[in-house]
């Protein structure tokens, strides 16, 4: 069964012939046509894009390898062909565009901006299809911010508002289906994208379109603080925008203020207990995402959110007595500051160091070193050595080494600060008990290009890594 009609193949080829091949294109056209007809057949209905199709990706790779094409050529060719198709103003073959999008989406591990060119050149009839595909491919950690920024840069606010509205209609149609038939993937992707757009898009008209679009597919939208805040912000705008948000503000009431009571249920991430990669980076990213979300919802900066957490920590640290629940909360707050890694916490941590109360002094030092940045590393180490000689070095220093190695970087050229940090690590390896040297050695190998073959290392470890 051929999924692509000859017309589609020719269309695709027309697009790619000029961009990719030049001579010998006829033979390659035939081969690609054969590849598309035999391999790029969607097993399910078209436009049910759940996951990249591993089989198709392998077949594309084989096709490219056999013809000595660079990796990704097939997908690029399809995207070029798509760009030609969607820009046609007189032909409205939506089935063809759907099939091309299907083949592309099943061939590409997201995220990708592969379809953005096609989106900006698409005619009115094809834009909803391409827009939906772009949103489906947006699984990057920036939650669609790159796509929104590209839209803002390349599209007028009127057209963006149209795009948001039609995406909203599509999501509403999906949401209204019975649960068993609902495509939850597109629903969650679409909602996530629109929440990002409402944060970034500068146009009041677009915000109104987004608010309307979110109302149906996101049933909890009415309860989000950010909606109340948006209504409050735009209620005095001119024209229909002001009218719309004025009514909404009356219905929703004033937005709640930023307070510990309102923030506490939202602040703590779920634990990550299955490690298959960079655990610390994963936790950092999760916490920082939560901070951004709270800031967005309450209309404040992430610094203000963290200031609230710091205030609570200060209160707990200096409470007369800590209940087990308070101690648990203090532990959770410690995790928040650690993973938020916000330099703005430096001042708070320095104050806490002067009066730690129930808070662990070593945790304060480590967190300060982690948030304050490379320039503050050695001054704090010197202060700690002078003012806190009673601290157990076996607990104090290992984490300092890891932070030091990160600050010293893996680059060849070192700044003065980085050289000083490496000097600290080199000194430490002589000062610590033998069991501590293994981690120090790893840290030095990460950041000091001269360490591996240094006489110091040979003297300490012989010729082999401990």
């Amino acid at each position: 069964m051929k999924v692509f009609s000859p017309y589609i193949i020719v269309s695709v080829m027309t697009g790619l012939a000029f961009t990719v091949f030049g001579q010998g294109r006829i033979k390659l056209q035939d081969e690609l046509a054969e590849h598309l007809a035999t391999n790029c057949i969607s097993k399910g209905s078209a436009r049910l894009w759940w996951h990249p199709d591993e089989t198709l990706i392998k077949q594309n790779l084989a096709f490219e390898r056999e013809r000595q094409l660079s990796q990704g050529s097939v997908v690029r060719m399809l995207a070029d062909g798509l760009e030609v198709e969607v820009s046609r103003t007189s032909v409205t073959n939506t089935a063809m565009v759907s099939r091309l999008l299907d083949a592309i989406l099943r061939s590409v591990p997201p995220p990708t901006n592969l379809l953005e060119k096609a989106l900006f050149s698409s005619a009115d009839w094809s834009r909803p299809l391409v827009m939906e595909a772009c949103v489906l491919l947006e699984t990057s950690t920036d939650e669609g911010a790159a796509l929104v920024k590209a839209l803002v840069k390349n599209m007028s606010s009127e057209r963006r508002a149209e795009c948001y509205a039609m995406l909203g209609k599509r999501l509403e149609a999906v949401y209204l289906l019975p649960y068993s038939k609902r495509n939850s993937h597109i629903l969650s992707q679409g909602v996530r994208f629109m929440l990002t757009a409402i944060r970034i898009d500068p146009s009041a008209e677009c915000i109104m379109a987004l608010d309307m679009a979110l109302d149906k597919p996101l049933p909890t939208w009415k309860d989000w603080n950010v909606r109340k805040r948006i209504a409050e912000k735009y209620k005095d705008s001119d024209g229909k925008v002001g009218e719309y948000f004025g009514k909404l503000a009356m219905t929703l009431g004033p937005p709640p203020t930023l307070s510990w009571t309102n923030v506490e249920p939202l602040l703590f991430p779920h634990p990550i207990d299955n490690v298959d990669g960079d655990w610390e980076a994963e936790c950092d990213s999760l916490q920082q995402g939560i901070n951004r979300q709270i800031a967005f919802d309450f209309g404040v900066s992430t610094r203000e959110v963290l200031r609230l957490a710091e205030k609570k920590m200060d209160e707990l640290a200096h409470a007369e007595q800590l209940t087990p629940k308070d101690a648990e909360l203090l532990g959770l707050l410690s995790g928040v500051l650690w993973h938020s890694r916000d330099a703005g916490s430096s001042g708070f941590l320095l104050n806490l160091l002067n009066s730690p109360g129930h808070q662990d002094v070593i945790w304060i030092i480590h967190t300060y070193l982690r948030v304050a940045g490379p320039d503050q590393f050695m001054p704090m180490i010197r202060r700690v050595k002078k003012e806190f000689p009673q601290l157990n070095p076996i607990r104090l220093f290992p984490r300092c080494w890891v932070i030091a190695a990160e600050y010293a970087g893996s680059n060849q050229e070192k700044t003065l600060v980085q050289r000083e940090i490496i000097g600290f690590l080199r000194q430490q390896i002589h000062d610590v008990p033998v069991q501590g040297r293994s981690l120090l050695d790893k840290c030095l190998l990460r950041c000091d290009p001269l360490w591996e073959s240094s006489t110091d290392r040979k003297r300490l470890f012989g010729h082999t890594t401990p």
Binding site: W50, T139, E143, P178, Y179, S180, K181, R182, S184, H185, L187, S188, V191, R192, L195, L218, P219, T220, W221, L266, P269, H270, P271, I272, D273, N274, V275, D276, W279, E280, C283, L286, G289, I290, Q293, E328, G331, L332, S334, G335, N392, I394, R395, P398, R399, V402, Q435, G436, S438, L439, K442
Partner: protein, 311 residues
């Protein structure tokens, strides 16, 4: 007819959709019938001869079945005058197999102090076996060792040391569990994929079972994640595999009407918080992944690694 099906746990709560039992093991299935269904109206049947009833096959009371032979079995409750498809439960009867060895190591300070206690381990393993009998897997305590390493003991919450710790025992052919004083604030267990697992105590079978679950290639499942709406919808057929749906006609039968998807997720072993339950479904369940994507999460018997081990 309002009905749900349950395998009774020791706590007395019904476990929904047991995915299996051992040959010689037993499971209790229960349906809650509406008051107009009489004792004589209900005839239970087992299709494949892999399991048998202990106390007869007629009546509205719960049924106890025992596993007879390995294979897939289907239990049906045929109800007179009931027009919908009969409630049906597909489950596996698992052969008795060698237990998977679990090696324990306590990380101690210079004086031999450590978290947890070796004397807890037999009951810990028993608790884990109770949970994993649903998928026909057993575990046994293979060894208990101690290591005095003050740097690890004092800094067991550092990922660099955690990676060193889980490399102490290698190629044991089984699972490797390390008992440490700290992992992260308010985290009691952590699995470093293929390397080993860490625990801060020796009493929580749920935590050990959950971490072993990760080594069986199961993922954490959540009901809420940042930036995404919480799951407030009632359970529906599209959220479960057909093996977990019990032949129900919908919208929710044979689950309790209005039962939220979030409640079912929270009952599962792989719910991402320590408050999770012990259920292991037959197939994936839809929920949020740790990346915040809503979709089918692999937390069930199908597709699991049945011989989990650390390298």
């Amino acid at each position: 007819m309002s009905a749900h099906v349950g395998l009774h746990t020791r706590c007395g709560h019904p476990r929904l959709n047991p995915s299996g039992l051992f040959v010689g093991g037993s499971a209790t299935f229960q349906i809650t019938f509406s008051s107009n269904v009489d004792e004589d109206d209900v005839q239970w049947s087992l299709a494949n001869g892999k399991a048998a009833f202990v106390f007869g096959y007629q009546g509205t009371a719960s049924r106890v079945v025992v596993g007879l032979a390995p294979g897939t079995e289907t239990l049906t409750a045929n109800i007179t005058h009931y027009v919908g498809p009969p409630p049906q439960f597909t489950f596996e009867v698992y052969p008795d197999a060698d237990p998977i060895a679990v090696h324990f190591m306590f990380i101690c300070d210079n004086n031999g102090n450590h978290a947890g206690s070796a004397s807890d381990i037999p009951s810990l393993i028993a608790g884990v076996n109770y949970i994993y009998r649903q998928v026909g897997i057993r575990f046994s305590q293979a060894s208990v060792t101690y290591t005095n390493e003050i740097f690890w003991y004092l800094n067991s919450d550092m990922i660099d040391y955690q990676k060193d710790i889980v490399n102490v025992m290698t190629n044991t052919g089984g699972l490797e569990a390390y008992i440490v004083p700290n992992i992260a604030p308010n985290v009691a267990g952590k699995n470093l994929l293929n390397e080993g697992l860490l625990m801060t105590n020796t009493v929580s079978a749920h935590i050990l079972a959950h971490e072993i679950g990760h080594q069986c290639r199961w993922e954490d499942i959540y009901t809420a994640v940042p930036d995404q709406p919480p799951l407030t919808m009632p359970l529906s057929q599209s959220h479960l595999s057909s093996a977990d749906w019990n032949n129900g006609p919908g919208p929710q039968e044979y689950y309790g009407r209005g039962l939220p998807l979030a409640t079912v997720i929270k009952r599962c072993l792989m719910f991402g918080y320590t408050s999770g339950g012990h259920d292991i479904p037959a197939g994936p369940v839809k929920g949020y992944s740790k990346e915040g994507v809503f979709g089918p999460i692999q937390i069930g018997a199908s597709g699991m690694d049945r011989t989990p081990h650390h390298n």
